[in-house]
Amino acid sequence: MLRLPSFTYHRPKTAAEAVRLASEHGKAAMYVAGGTDLYPNMKRRHQTPSQVISLQDVPGLHAVEVQPDGRVAIGAMVRLATLERHPHLLRHHPAFAHAVREISTPLLRNMGTIGGNLLLDTRCTYYDQSHEWRESIDFCMKKDGAICWVAPGSPRCWAVQSSDTVPVVCALEAEVELVGTAGPRTIPAAELYRDDGIQYLTKRPEELLTRLWLPAPGAWKASYVKLRRRDTFDFPVLGVGACLWFDGDGVVRKANVRLGGAGSYAIPAVETEKLLVGNELTDEVIAAAGAAAMKPARTMDNTDLDVYWRRKVAPVYVARALAACR
């Protein structure tokens, strides 16, 4: 049986206490929410904190609150299963609710949280392996080794952004609330992420993600389309999050298209966005915008399914995500 390494387990009662613990233990500490990402990683010895700080007893992280202005505050500890069934989200944020439902399996959604999913470790088929397997390739730079196996000449790690919700919340221009040693701050969700497989987050390690803020409904429409082999279990090999703002005549005023599973962060499909703005969503516009999507993508041979094929069919999925915004 694969087992966890031993650790000291903390269950702080306030956010401040959690931050203090994390700050005190530095690199030895990690937060845990649902545990569905961290514990497998610990069993495979990718992540080996000696101090595990559970957030389950921290108050204020467990609620979905609809604000008077229409925005929705989602506590980081809210279970994914709660979100996928939440009537307000299903009605007003169907793309987000759909992305949540696309995550792994119902059992894991019963355990996993939105905070955990937003901070999901990047994935790679050279990394998400047992200690023994990684030993046979002499490890990789993300853990215990020196090389990036996907791009051996590269100085950086190319592990893949694999959360289903991240492309959507970035496209939606949602915000996240972080609490650090100096108190809370709120930043656009997109600013939480960096283009690096190892340092994929901009937040400080001790900063605690407390809340996700979804925008109020308006003259925009969002979608999420996921490509994977099976309709359950599998992480995205492409996750297209799109959010389009329209003027009164159906012309796209602003467009955010984010590609998950295509690099170490949810990559903005800038060419696609340019082709959309100022146009109506005709079949031709959608096809052209879809075809332009993959230029900035960094699709590599470190996920399921053939890398060449993933690049080839990506425009189809981007186009489908755009069509879903009509």
Partner: protein, 849 residues
């Protein structure tokens, strides 16, 4: 075509009474339990979580063992330093290869494995050191403290590489270089067959390897007690063969001091049919430490055990008449065997054995080559060696039907191998329900109206139908090691309480073999099958049954059980007849009573009957045994393929293809299986549906993919995805609706006419999916799995005006150059052949042990 005279066929042991109401062609209404959807004898335990699998067992003072496995694909072991591991508190025992120098292997001809590698590792995952400790974590940590120095050897990464690189040899036995086996068998006159053909096709196919992926990870508990007796509980499908391997490696421990208990298997599918290094190492570790030792493999280690489907390259040349009759078939298979022999010799023959059993093949040439490569060893997975050629043949026939403008279903119906006949390679076909199977799925699927006409759907996707057929054996005709003893034995003990206990070496892997014993004995004795105590898979207590492989158990154990039950019935009848003063021939056994057929009120309960018999005859116990009829094939290699009977399956698969991406789904499958007679239709359906499922996984996604990289001048060659997440298998959401037809064409060699069901229905799935994709979008994927990427590549080729196909090169470069030497030449039955090869050098007949 020479038809076999059925009356000349030897009656199998256990079928002495042909006048019994349970003869193979009994009417369903004559049978009380057989054919009824009775619960399995272990059903309540399984739904209550009470079934004890190997890893559920715990003994006092038990140690936990872990294996340190090779991180190199191919290397010599220069030095092993275990000193730091030994110093870790909690470590109680360490073993290396030198502690178990005797090699073993499932087949006598390939004893090429060691419990721990003594001097060479042959794949990433080969075990090198075993460590036992008080906690599993400690054993794992201790393994990390072992230092192994390797000297790298050139890695042999696949079929073409093995053919091109005779050095370094993985093993110092085999044909030559890295060729493990070469077979070359010619039946009839190929030249004449092709000359008479009106259409000839030559195609190349590839079937990637895949694995069983049982939900239960292998586990073993071994206890060497203070009396010098060893007991090994294990998740094994073959306790008898494990017993033999333990006795061999643990020499001089006497075989009769070794007890193997096969725990219920949490899925086997062939993956627990070999004796495994971890089983032997756990036993040795218990002998070393004097304490019980358990090893429970991780999921990754289950991938290292493997013994799954061989990757096979195939080249098939077939000549047919205008109506699709096969006048000549020239079939070559090239198997990637992985690092060890395992069942590979049999696997090689199986890639050639059963092509002749579905459709009449007049002349047949088979060449097979198996190579050693630095991968986890391949072996028997559900269908053992036959799904790969079946895929090739059924797709090729689909192409031929297309070439000739024939309906693929009708073409098959027109060319069925006849029942009660001998094939070109001397396989004896008995009952043959393939025609009925085809008719069922053709009617059910609306094949005639819908094939080729589904086309574009309102959702923009394309639908198509594909058909394929298959056959499988009901048990291998020969045992793994040459001997003249029964393949299956059953002992019955009748107790004064009325309890009947059946002892049999067979092993329930979920297929229901324990229940088969209960149903058959219950039917013969007229008692409730669920009231029978079944004791199985324990080499101390139960007579030998060779194991749960080759779909042999229902037929072989079933016949042995029937003989034992008939003998018990005779004994009980004797006692009752004397007590009632009624002739034994007038007694009826039914409803847990034994009574006079002419005066049913005159009788006694089953319990009273047993007591009457015991009073008259003493303690009541009987035995039954079974060995298959002798094979008609007498040539070298003719031992693989013969079986008491053959099952048949036909499938129609419907697919829906997204032509923009190659992504497809399988919404519906129609599967008909000729089972001879279903001893329990509900349980048989479970086997059929499970086969559809597993075949679908092989067709769509499952594959043993390898990473092939180099690093600091060293080649890295390791399984790419040894996890349940990344080795893709179908989930509830991929499983199609299945219309299952249980076709019953009773065979005289089966108990109540039963034939196999566990493996056959898997076989047509892969070609049927490929054929359906062709029907939907007009492209051929001549390679398994038919993944989305390959469909897309074929669609792109079509769009670019190239051959609308994905697969290995169709010219000679598609297969490696191998000198197969001279063929063994065998005259077919219709040429007057007697089953021997006319050019075979005289062989010394081995004396049966």
């Amino acid at each position: 075509m020479v038809l076999d005279d059925p009356t000349s066929r030897p009656a199998p042991a256990g079928k002495a009474r042909t006048d019994a109401p349970w003869r193979h062609d009994a009417r369903p209404d004559e049978l009380k339990h057989i054919g009824k959807p009775i619960r399995k004898v272990d059903a309540r335990s399984k739904v209550s979580g009470l079934t004890k699998f190997a890893d559920d067992l715990v003994l006092p003072r038990m140690l936990h063992m872990k294996l340190l496995r090779s991180t190199m694909a191919h290397a010599e072991i220069v030095h092993i330093d275990t000193r730091r591991a030994a110093a870790l508190p909690g470590v109680k025992g360490i073993l290396t290869g030198k502690d178990m120098p005797i090699p073993f292997g499932i087949l006598p001809v390939s004893q090429d494995e060691h419990a721990l590698c003594p001097d060479r590792v042959r794949f990433v995952g080969d075990p090198v050191v075993a460590i036992a400790a008080t906690e599993e974590e400690i054993a794992w940590e201790a393994c990390r403290l072992v230092e192994v120095e390797y000297r790298e050897l050139r890695t042999i990464g696949g079929i073409h590489e093995a053919a091109a690189n005779p050095e370094p040899r993985l093993h110092d036995y085999g044909v030559r270089g890295n060729i493990h086996r070469l077979e070359n068998l010619e039946f009839g006159d190929l030249q004449d067959g092709f000359a008479r053909a009106e259409h000839v096709r030559e195609d190349t196919f590839f079937f990637e390897g895949n694995t069983h992926l049982p939900m239960e990870q292998h586990a073993t508990l071994a206890h060497f007690d203070k009396d010098g007796k060893l007991c090994v509980w294990s998740s094994t499908q073959t306790p008898h063969y494990l017993h033999k391997a333990l006795a061999r490696v643990l020499h001089p421990l006497p075989a009769h001091h070794i007890r193997v208990i096969a725990c219920p298997n949490g899925g086997g599918f062939g993956g627990k049919s070999d004796p495994f290094n971890h089983e032997i190492a756990a036993a040795k570790m218990s002998m070393l430490t004097g304490r019980p030792v358990k090893i429970a493999l991780t999921r990754e280690e289950v991938f290292w055990c493997h013994r799954g489907r061989h990757p096979v390259l195939m080249r098939s040349k077939v000549g047919v008449t205008r109506t699709g009759r096969i006048t000549a078939l020239d079939f070559q298979s090239y198997l990637d065997g992985g690092a060890y022999g395992s069942y590979g010799t049999a696997s090689t023959f199986y890639t050639g054995a059963l092509q002749t059993v579905t459709y009449a093949v007049e002349n047949y040439h088979f060449r097979g080559a198996r190579f050693f490569t630095n991968k986890a060893p391949c072996g028997p997975k559900r269908g053992h060696g036959t799904p790969q050629p079946r895929f090739a043949l059924e797709v090729q026939l689909d192409k031929i039907a297309c070439d000739l403008g024939l309906d693929p279903a009708q073409m098959r119906l027109d060319n069925l191998a006849p029942r009660d006949s001998l094939t070109a390679n001397f396989l004896r076909i008995g009952s043959m329900g393939l025609g009925a199977c085809i008719e069922k799925v053709v009617a059910g699927s609306g094949w005639k109206e819908r094939r080729g006409k589904l086309g574009r759907q309102p959702n923009g996707r394309y639908r198509g139908l594909g058909l394929a057929c298959s056959s499988y054996l009901s048990g291998a005709g020969l045992p793994i090691y040459w001997n003249g003893m029964p393949h299956s034995g059953v002992q019955l003990k009748l107790d004064r309480s009325g309890l009947v206990t059946a002892f049999c070496g067979s092993t329930d892997i979920g297929q229901g073999s324990d229940s088969v014993l209960g149903w058959i004995i219950g039917e013969v004795l007229g008692i409730d099958p669920l009231g029978i105590r079944v004791v199985t898979g324990d080499t101390d207590l139960t007579p030998v049954d060779l194991g749960s492989y080759s779909s042999r158990v229902t037929v072989m154990t079933g016949n042995a059980a029937m003989q034992a039950a008939e003998r018990a019935r005779d004994l009980v009848a004797d006692g009752v007849a004397q007590k009632l003063g009624v002739p034994a021939s007038r007694l009826v056994f039914a409803d847990a009573r034994v009574f006079d057929s002419e005066d049913p009120k005159r009788g006694m309960t089953w319990q009273e009957a047993v007591c009457a018999a015991e009073a008259r005859l003493g303690t009541i116990g009987t035995v039954g045994s079974y060995a298959p009829p002798p094979a008609a094939a007498k040539f070298r290699g003719g031992g693989v393929g013969p079986s008491p009977s053959y099952s048949y399956s036909a499938a129609v698969v419907e697919v829906e293809v997204d032509a923009e991406t190659g992504v497809y789904t399988v919404p519906k499958v129609w599967m008909a299986h000729d089972i001879g007679r279903a001893l329990n239709a509900a349980v048989a359906m479970g086997q059929i549906e499970g086969s559809v499922y597993m075949g679908l996984g092989e067709a769509m996604m499952e594959e043993m993919a390898y990473r092939d990289r180099s690093h600091k001048g060293q080649r890295i060659f390791v399984h790419k995805i040894p996890s349940l997440l990344e080795y893709k298998s179908p989930t509830t959401l991929e499983m199609p609706a299945v219309v299952t037809y249980v076709v019953e064409d009773p065979d005289r060699n089966g108990p109540f006419g039963a034939k196999e069901v566990g493996q056959g229905p898997l076989l047509p799935m892969m070609p049927a999916v490929a054929n359906a994709v062709f029907d939907a979008v007009g492209v051929r994927v001549d390679e398994i799995p038919v993944s989305f990427e390959k469909v897309f590549a074929a669609l792109q080729a079509k769009q670019d005006g190239k051959e609308p196909r994905y697969g290995p090169a169709t010219d000679a470069s598609g297969v490696p150059e191998v000198d197969f030497g001279d063929s063994l030449k065998i005259k077919t039955p219709w040429q007057g052949g007697d089953g021997t090869a006319w050019n075979e050098p005289k062989r010394e007949k081995k004396a049966a042990k």
